[in-house]
Point group: C2
Chain length 326, copies 2
Amino acid sequence: MTELEEAYRRAAAFLRENDGFLLLTHVHPDGDALGSVLGMASILQKMGKRVVIAHEEEMPERFAYLPGIDRVVRVSELTGRFAVGISLDCADRRRLGRAAEALMPEARLLNIDHHATNDRFGAENLVDSGASATCQIVCRLAGLLEIPLRGDTAVCLYTGLFTDTGGFRYGNTTADVLRLAAEMIDGGLDPYPIALQAVETVTEKQLRLLSAALAGLRTAAEGRAAYITVTRNLLEETGTTVEDTQELVNYARNLAGVEVGLMFREEGENEVKVSLRSKHRVDVSGIAAQFGGGGHPRAAGCTVEGPLRQVIDRVMGVVAARIGRG
Amino acid sequence: MTELEEAYRRAAAFLRENDGFLLLTHVHPDGDALGSVLGMASILQKMGKRVVIAHEEEMPERFAYLPGIDRVVRVSELTGRFAVGISLDCADRRRLGRAAEALMPEARLLNIDHHATNDRFGAENLVDSGASATCQIVCRLAGLLEIPLRGDTAVCLYTGLFTDTGGFRYGNTTADVLRLAAEMIDGGLDPYPIALQAVETVTEKQLRLLSAALAGLRTAAEGRAAYITVTRNLLEETGTTVEDTQELVNYARNLAGVEVGLMFREEGENEVKVSLRSKHRVDVSGIAAQFGGGGHPRAAGCTVEGPLRQVIDRVMGVVAARIGRG
């Protein structure tokens, strides 16, 4: 048995042998965070276990369709503390936010995550960085516990598989991910409503922001780079927040002929957040690193001091040189 | 053996027993049309067969990545006619366009398609309306012919599976489709470049059109319907064509709280093309039928006579009444 197989076996034993679980995930939860925490809750309930899910924030409207999301308790409303906890999709304890305060100091914590950077803060740690999503790890645990991937369990776990692979598009769309999704569809899951709600739904404000941001799209480096600019004014005019800007950079990257797409977002008087995406060839984490940032080869970011126009010129100069070098 | 299994068996025999094939698909080819015709060509070549692919149009830039697309011959440049043909993803002979003229009058034609409306115009007909894509039928034939779903064959066939299921999102994303995709990924296929090129790439003109169209987005029926308007002027100003408007209606449908999204496109002085999409509940084919059109419950269309403003008012009146009835 490999070390990882042993970690799966120990995690399954932890779930079988304990009861009265507090389930936690990271702040600003995404589809994999909520899918894994609610999927795990659904599995434990099928095992006859008592479960409480706590979070410090309100749940995002986008994921209102997830079965059980109405049972997530604001940590401020919890009385009493828990002796057994499970953290899902969270790389370090700090990212659990204030919800971690609902654990007793001596609580036994099972830490389930797929981030390679996970610092193994649990008493038990199931960290599988080969998994594309924490939901994929929970699927495998469900198999060990002989809980079928059906009904509510499937809706939650499919959501994490789908969102953390960019809707079955990114390079981490592995054969195993697609086979798990196939198993859930065999079990009666309807994929379309999940895709619509988890990924495609936009607010009217977001569409106004998109419309205005696209009107200001500019290309550079002979059409091989493109960027979108978001001023503080624009956010104010459209009534949007920083969270609403997340998808914009992809429009710049998706432009035909473009290799590097960027978004420049005014953070303050003299500070600009830069998001970089590339298609095939350019390692944008290297560009971000030049400005004190970082990330992955195809997705990176940095925060640069200076007025907006000046930051654009500086960063685009580096991007153009990088593209030119081929 | 069912009738369908028998059709598969006969099609496989047709491919084994013949040589010197002319491969054809429908005019205005999409990802499944080109994926299935090039995937089939790749399979036949692995079997040592001679293949020519003919089409009346230039190949769309979006699919330039498909292996073998540079070998598609303009039918106007073909000399000689073929005695054996294969039509892929085409519901009737007329939709093959002028490329069908490269067949001898007495040519034996194998008709492979997944459209339920296929009129069985071939000498042999493999029409599997249970398949989500013609590429899925070709995958199954590859299995019967013992040709692995690898390399160029996989890139072509994955493209059709991906595009005809709306990027593994629509209700026709079956377990079988995902398992075939998983098999290709096991064989070394990289899903991300295909998703980027087949679905996500947009032209700068299309982004200008999107920006302007979104600026004119309107909601109705207390936010449960939304529509986008495309005037002839707007197409002229942005240098776009009717093909560039295809995705716009989805932005209206994807709006949070909206059940029915529509696009109104001026066709002529006194004619408006209406596209309708719904999320969950409203059967938009019924609405389209009231105006002489048709389609599916979640996607339908019609062409309505009258000036733009008047058509919008008439159709939105029906939409609002339909939504109100629940």
